[in-house]
Protein backbone atom coordinates (compact mmCIF):
# COMPACT_ATOMS: atom_id res chain seq x y z
CA UNK A 1 0.00 0.00 0.00
CA UNK A 2 1.56 3.22 -1.12
CA UNK A 3 1.49 6.12 1.29
CA UNK A 4 0.69 9.63 0.13
CA UNK A 5 4.21 10.77 0.90
CA UNK A 6 3.48 14.40 0.08
CA UNK A 7 1.03 14.86 2.93
CA UNK A 8 3.43 13.26 5.38
CA UNK A 9 6.48 15.15 4.15
CA UNK A 10 4.58 18.42 4.22
CA UNK A 11 3.64 17.72 7.80
CA UNK A 12 7.27 16.89 8.58
CA UNK A 13 8.70 19.98 6.88
CA UNK A 14 5.94 22.39 7.74
CA UNK A 15 6.64 21.85 11.36
CA UNK A 16 10.37 22.48 11.13
CA UNK A 17 9.82 25.89 12.72
CA UNK A 18 7.75 24.38 15.52
CA UNK A 19 9.37 22.30 18.23
CA UNK A 20 8.64 18.57 17.93
CA UNK A 21 7.36 16.50 20.82
CA UNK A 22 10.77 14.99 21.22
CA UNK A 23 13.93 14.67 19.19
CA UNK A 24 17.41 13.35 19.63
CA UNK A 25 19.93 10.68 18.84
CA UNK A 26 18.94 7.06 19.12
CA UNK A 27 20.81 3.99 17.98
CA UNK A 28 18.84 1.92 15.53
CA UNK A 29 19.53 -1.63 14.55
CA UNK A 30 19.30 -2.13 10.81
CA UNK A 31 16.75 -4.53 9.37
CA UNK A 32 19.36 -6.63 7.62
CA UNK A 33 22.57 -5.22 8.99
CA UNK A 34 22.71 -6.13 12.68
CA UNK A 35 24.92 -3.28 13.78
CA UNK A 36 23.47 -0.17 15.42
CA UNK A 37 23.40 3.04 13.42
CA UNK A 38 23.24 6.47 14.94
CA UNK A 39 20.12 8.25 13.75
CA UNK A 40 18.34 11.51 14.53
CA UNK A 41 14.79 10.75 15.66
CA UNK A 42 11.92 13.22 15.61
CA UNK A 43 8.57 12.52 17.26
CA UNK A 44 5.62 14.54 15.98
CA UNK A 45 2.21 13.44 17.11
CA UNK A 46 1.78 9.75 16.35
CA UNK A 47 4.60 9.69 13.82
CA UNK A 48 8.21 8.88 14.56
CA UNK A 49 10.64 9.98 11.88
CA UNK A 50 14.30 9.09 11.67
CA UNK A 51 16.95 10.93 9.73
CA UNK A 52 20.52 10.26 8.86
CA UNK A 53 21.45 13.76 10.00
CA UNK A 54 19.56 16.30 12.08
CA UNK A 55 19.39 18.88 9.29
CA UNK A 56 18.23 16.51 6.53
CA UNK A 57 15.29 17.69 4.46
CA UNK A 58 13.82 14.24 4.00
CA UNK A 59 13.59 11.55 6.66
CA UNK A 60 15.15 8.15 6.03
CA UNK A 61 12.09 6.52 7.43
CA UNK A 62 8.84 6.71 9.32
CA UNK A 63 7.29 4.58 12.04
CA UNK A 64 3.52 4.75 12.62
CA UNK A 65 2.94 4.59 16.34
CA UNK A 66 -0.73 3.57 16.58
CA UNK A 67 -1.19 0.27 18.39
CA UNK A 68 2.52 -0.10 18.99
CA UNK A 69 4.07 -1.70 22.01
CA UNK A 70 7.05 0.09 23.42
CA UNK A 71 9.13 -1.76 25.97
CA UNK A 72 12.66 -1.83 27.31
CA UNK A 73 14.74 -4.64 25.89
CA UNK A 74 16.62 -6.57 28.52
CA UNK A 75 19.71 -8.53 27.75
CA UNK A 76 20.51 -6.57 24.62
CA UNK A 77 24.06 -5.94 23.50
CA UNK A 78 23.43 -2.24 23.95
CA UNK A 79 22.41 -0.90 27.33
CA UNK A 80 19.35 1.41 27.45
CA UNK A 81 17.79 -0.64 24.66
CA UNK A 82 14.11 -0.72 23.84
CA UNK A 83 11.81 -2.08 21.17
CA UNK A 84 8.92 -0.57 19.28
CA UNK A 85 6.72 -3.42 18.13
CA UNK A 86 4.30 -2.47 15.39
CA UNK A 87 1.13 -4.38 14.45
CA UNK A 88 0.61 -5.94 11.05
CA UNK A 89 0.53 -9.59 12.01
CA UNK A 90 3.53 -11.35 10.53
CA UNK A 91 4.36 -8.22 8.63
CA UNK A 92 4.70 -6.14 11.77
CA UNK A 93 8.17 -5.10 12.74
CA UNK A 94 10.18 -4.87 15.90
CA UNK A 95 12.30 -1.76 15.70
CA UNK A 96 15.32 -2.23 17.91
CA UNK A 97 16.52 1.02 19.31
CA UNK A 98 18.78 2.18 22.10
CA UNK A 99 19.22 5.42 23.94
CA UNK A 100 22.63 6.75 24.88
CA UNK A 101 21.96 7.09 28.60
CA UNK A 102 19.27 6.27 31.18
CA UNK A 103 17.72 9.76 31.10
CA UNK A 104 17.24 9.57 27.37
CA UNK A 105 15.79 6.08 27.66
CA UNK A 106 13.26 7.16 30.24
CA UNK A 107 12.33 10.30 28.32
CA UNK A 108 11.80 8.41 25.07
CA UNK A 109 9.80 5.63 26.72
CA UNK A 110 7.59 8.27 28.31
CA UNK A 111 7.14 10.23 25.08
CA UNK A 112 6.40 7.19 22.95
CA UNK A 113 3.95 5.69 25.44
CA UNK A 114 1.84 8.82 25.30
CA UNK A 115 2.12 9.54 21.60
CA UNK A 116 -0.81 7.75 20.04
CA UNK A 117 -3.86 9.44 18.57
CA UNK A 118 -6.02 6.91 20.36
CA UNK A 119 -4.64 7.90 23.74
CA UNK A 120 -5.09 11.60 23.00
CA UNK A 121 -8.71 10.89 22.02
CA UNK A 122 -9.22 9.03 25.30
CA UNK A 123 -7.95 12.02 27.25
CA UNK A 124 -10.00 14.45 25.22
CA UNK A 125 -13.38 12.73 25.36
CA UNK A 126 -14.13 13.13 29.12
CA UNK A 127 -12.76 16.67 29.13
CA UNK A 128 -15.01 17.71 26.29
CA UNK A 129 -18.00 16.08 28.00
CA UNK A 130 -17.18 17.80 31.28
CA UNK A 131 -16.88 21.16 29.53
CA UNK A 132 -20.24 20.78 27.83
CA UNK A 133 -21.91 19.78 31.09
CA UNK A 134 -20.45 22.80 32.84
CA UNK A 135 -21.65 25.07 30.05
CA UNK A 136 -25.11 23.60 30.21
CA UNK A 137 -25.26 24.02 33.99
CA UNK A 138 -24.10 27.62 33.66
CA UNK A 139 -26.53 28.31 30.83
CA UNK A 140 -23.58 29.18 28.67
CA UNK A 141 -23.04 28.52 24.98
CA UNK A 142 -20.07 26.14 24.60
CA UNK A 143 -17.12 27.58 22.71
CA UNK A 144 -14.87 25.81 20.25
CA UNK A 145 -11.16 25.20 20.26
CA UNK A 146 -9.21 27.51 17.95
CA UNK A 147 -8.94 26.33 14.33
CA UNK A 148 -5.57 27.91 13.81
CA UNK A 149 -2.31 26.69 15.28
CA UNK A 150 -1.22 30.18 16.17
CA UNK A 151 1.65 30.22 18.58
CA UNK A 152 0.00 28.19 21.28
CA UNK A 153 2.59 27.03 23.69
CA UNK A 154 1.76 23.54 24.72
CA UNK A 155 2.36 23.14 28.44
CA UNK A 156 3.33 19.54 28.72
CA UNK A 157 3.50 19.71 32.48
CA UNK A 158 -0.12 20.56 33.17
CA UNK A 159 -1.65 17.12 33.40
CA UNK A 160 -4.42 16.11 35.74
CA UNK A 161 -3.70 13.74 38.55
CA UNK A 162 -5.57 11.01 36.68
CA UNK A 163 -3.33 11.39 33.67
CA UNK A 164 -0.19 11.61 35.75
CA UNK A 165 -1.22 8.53 37.68
CA UNK A 166 -1.85 6.59 34.49
CA UNK A 167 1.29 7.82 32.83
CA UNK A 168 3.57 7.32 35.80
CA UNK A 169 2.08 3.90 36.32
CA UNK A 170 3.36 2.89 32.90
CA UNK A 171 6.65 4.65 33.44
CA UNK A 172 7.21 2.97 36.81
CA UNK A 173 6.66 -0.48 35.33
CA UNK A 174 9.09 0.28 32.55
CA UNK A 175 11.69 1.72 34.89
CA UNK A 176 11.39 -1.28 37.19
CA UNK A 177 12.19 -3.48 34.24
CA UNK A 178 15.15 -1.35 33.26
CA UNK A 179 16.32 -1.18 36.86
CA UNK A 180 16.31 -4.96 37.06
CA UNK A 181 18.52 -5.05 34.00
CA UNK A 182 21.08 -2.82 35.65
CA UNK A 183 20.93 -4.85 38.85
CA UNK A 184 21.71 -7.97 36.85
CA UNK A 185 24.51 -6.22 35.02
CA UNK A 186 26.24 -5.09 38.19
CA UNK A 187 25.57 -8.44 39.88
CA UNK A 188 27.43 -10.06 37.02
CA UNK A 189 30.49 -8.03 37.87
CA UNK A 190 29.54 -5.31 35.42
CA UNK A 191 30.47 -7.52 32.46
CA UNK A 192 27.71 -5.97 30.36
CA UNK A 193 27.59 -2.57 32.03
CA UNK A 194 28.13 0.40 29.84
CA UNK A 195 31.32 2.28 30.51
CA UNK A 196 30.59 4.74 33.26
CA UNK A 197 27.04 3.42 33.47
CA UNK A 198 26.62 0.56 35.87
CA UNK A 199 26.22 1.73 39.43
CA UNK A 200 25.71 5.34 38.56
CA UNK A 201 22.95 4.42 36.16
CA UNK A 202 21.18 2.40 38.80
CA UNK A 203 21.38 5.16 41.34
CA UNK A 204 19.98 7.69 38.94
CA UNK A 205 17.01 5.48 38.21
CA UNK A 206 16.31 5.16 41.93
Amino acid sequence: MKLHRKSVLRFFRGYRTQAPDREGILLKKGARNTSYQRRWFILRGNLLFYLEHQADHTPLGLILLENCQVEPRLGATEPYAFTIRTPGGEGGRAYRLAAENPEELRAWLWALAGATWTRLAELLRPLEAQYRELCQAAGQEPGSPPEDCGSLAIPRTLFSFQELHEHFGKEIRMLQAVHRQFQEASDNGGSRSPTGGGEAGTQQLC
Binding site: F11, G14, L62, L64, P87, C149, I154
Partner: protein, 132 residues
Protein backbone atom coordinates in the same frame (compact mmCIF):
# COMPACT_ATOMS: atom_id res chain seq x y z
CA UNK B 1 11.40 7.80 2.94
CA UNK B 2 10.98 4.24 4.15
CA UNK B 3 7.98 2.95 6.05
CA UNK B 4 6.49 -0.43 6.74
CA UNK B 5 3.68 -1.14 4.33
CA UNK B 6 2.12 -3.63 6.74
CA UNK B 7 1.79 -0.98 9.45
CA UNK B 8 -0.27 1.14 7.11
CA UNK B 9 -2.38 -1.81 6.07
CA UNK B 10 -3.00 -2.75 9.70
CA UNK B 11 -4.09 0.82 10.37
CA UNK B 12 -6.51 0.75 7.43
CA UNK B 13 -8.19 -2.33 8.94
CA UNK B 14 -8.68 -0.77 12.35
CA UNK B 15 -12.17 0.33 13.38
CA UNK B 16 -12.76 3.62 11.65
CA UNK B 17 -13.89 6.94 13.06
CA UNK B 18 -16.01 7.34 9.93
CA UNK B 19 -16.65 5.03 7.01
CA UNK B 20 -19.02 5.48 4.11
CA UNK B 21 -19.27 5.17 0.37
CA UNK B 22 -18.73 8.61 -1.11
CA UNK B 23 -18.28 10.03 -4.56
CA UNK B 24 -14.68 11.12 -5.06
CA UNK B 25 -13.01 13.29 -7.62
CA UNK B 26 -9.31 14.00 -7.98
CA UNK B 27 -7.69 17.43 -8.25
CA UNK B 28 -7.13 17.39 -12.03
CA UNK B 29 -9.57 19.29 -14.25
CA UNK B 30 -12.12 17.05 -15.85
CA UNK B 31 -11.70 14.22 -13.34
CA UNK B 32 -14.51 11.76 -13.18
CA UNK B 33 -16.42 11.08 -9.98
CA UNK B 34 -15.81 7.58 -8.63
CA UNK B 35 -17.72 6.01 -5.81
CA UNK B 36 -15.48 4.47 -3.18
CA UNK B 37 -15.54 3.30 0.41
CA UNK B 38 -13.82 6.08 2.30
CA UNK B 39 -12.46 5.39 5.77
CA UNK B 40 -11.19 7.80 8.37
CA UNK B 41 -8.86 6.03 10.79
CA UNK B 42 -7.20 8.18 13.45
CA UNK B 43 -5.60 10.99 11.39
CA UNK B 44 -5.38 9.07 8.11
CA UNK B 45 -7.87 8.98 5.24
CA UNK B 46 -8.07 5.74 3.25
CA UNK B 47 -10.21 4.68 0.39
CA UNK B 48 -11.01 1.19 -0.82
CA UNK B 49 -12.23 -0.30 -4.04
CA UNK B 50 -12.79 -3.89 -3.00
CA UNK B 51 -11.08 -5.12 0.18
CA UNK B 52 -7.65 -3.70 -0.45
CA UNK B 53 -7.01 -0.07 0.23
CA UNK B 54 -6.42 1.37 -3.19
CA UNK B 55 -3.89 3.89 -4.33
CA UNK B 56 -4.44 4.67 -7.96
CA UNK B 57 -5.27 8.14 -9.03
CA UNK B 58 -5.52 9.73 -5.69
CA UNK B 59 -2.07 8.91 -4.43
CA UNK B 60 -2.63 6.76 -1.41
CA UNK B 61 -3.76 7.15 2.20
CA UNK B 62 -3.41 10.71 3.35
CA UNK B 63 -2.23 12.14 6.62
CA UNK B 64 -4.81 14.72 7.69
CA UNK B 65 -2.56 17.30 9.29
CA UNK B 66 -2.43 20.87 8.02
CA UNK B 67 -5.50 19.98 6.00
CA UNK B 68 -8.22 22.42 4.99
CA UNK B 69 -11.80 21.16 4.71
CA UNK B 70 -14.10 23.34 2.65
CA UNK B 71 -17.83 23.13 2.02
CA UNK B 72 -18.32 23.17 -1.73
CA UNK B 73 -21.76 22.86 -3.32
CA UNK B 74 -24.59 21.34 -1.28
CA UNK B 75 -23.70 17.81 -0.18
CA UNK B 76 -20.07 18.29 -1.24
CA UNK B 77 -16.81 19.18 0.41
CA UNK B 78 -13.18 19.23 -0.55
CA UNK B 79 -9.90 18.72 1.26
CA UNK B 80 -6.63 20.35 0.40
CA UNK B 81 -3.32 20.79 2.12
CA UNK B 82 -2.02 24.08 3.42
CA UNK B 83 0.99 24.32 1.15
CA UNK B 84 -0.94 23.37 -1.98
CA UNK B 85 -4.42 24.88 -1.56
CA UNK B 86 -5.33 24.68 -5.26
CA UNK B 87 -4.99 20.92 -5.33
CA UNK B 88 -8.39 19.85 -4.02
CA UNK B 89 -9.78 16.37 -3.53
CA UNK B 90 -13.57 16.49 -3.88
CA UNK B 91 -16.14 14.38 -2.08
CA UNK B 92 -19.84 14.01 -2.78
CA UNK B 93 -22.17 12.91 -0.03
CA UNK B 94 -25.73 11.68 -0.28
CA UNK B 95 -27.06 14.41 1.98
CA UNK B 96 -26.06 17.73 3.50
CA UNK B 97 -26.21 16.09 6.91
CA UNK B 98 -23.67 13.46 5.88
CA UNK B 99 -21.55 16.18 4.37
CA UNK B 100 -21.50 18.16 7.64
CA UNK B 101 -20.70 15.01 9.64
CA UNK B 102 -17.70 14.20 7.46
CA UNK B 103 -16.43 17.76 7.47
CA UNK B 104 -16.56 17.90 11.26
CA UNK B 105 -14.92 14.49 11.60
CA UNK B 106 -12.07 15.35 9.22
CA UNK B 107 -11.38 18.66 10.95
CA UNK B 108 -11.34 16.98 14.34
CA UNK B 109 -9.15 14.10 13.21
CA UNK B 110 -6.00 16.15 13.16
CA UNK B 111 -3.61 15.33 15.99
CA UNK B 112 -2.66 18.97 16.28
CA UNK B 113 -6.30 20.02 16.50
CA UNK B 114 -6.87 17.49 19.26
CA UNK B 115 -3.91 18.84 21.18
CA UNK B 116 -5.23 22.39 20.92
CA UNK B 117 -8.63 21.11 22.05
CA UNK B 118 -7.14 19.46 25.10
CA UNK B 119 -5.57 22.74 26.17
CA UNK B 120 -8.73 24.70 25.36
CA UNK B 121 -11.04 22.44 27.41
CA UNK B 122 -8.61 22.23 30.29
CA UNK B 123 -8.29 26.02 30.42
CA UNK B 124 -12.03 26.58 30.14
CA UNK B 125 -12.79 24.02 32.84
CA UNK B 126 -10.26 25.61 35.11
CA UNK B 127 -11.84 29.03 34.52
CA UNK B 128 -15.29 27.71 35.29
CA UNK B 129 -14.47 25.59 38.30
CA UNK B 130 -11.31 27.14 39.62
CA UNK B 131 -9.81 23.66 39.68
CA UNK B 132 -7.16 22.15 37.43
Amino acid sequence: MRYNDKELQALSRQPAEMAAELGMRGPKKGSVVKRRLVKLVVNFLFYFRTDEAEVGWWGGPKLLEHCRVIHEEPNSFSISFLEDPERKYHFECCSEEQCQQWMAALRQASYEFMRRSLIFYRNEIQKMTGKV
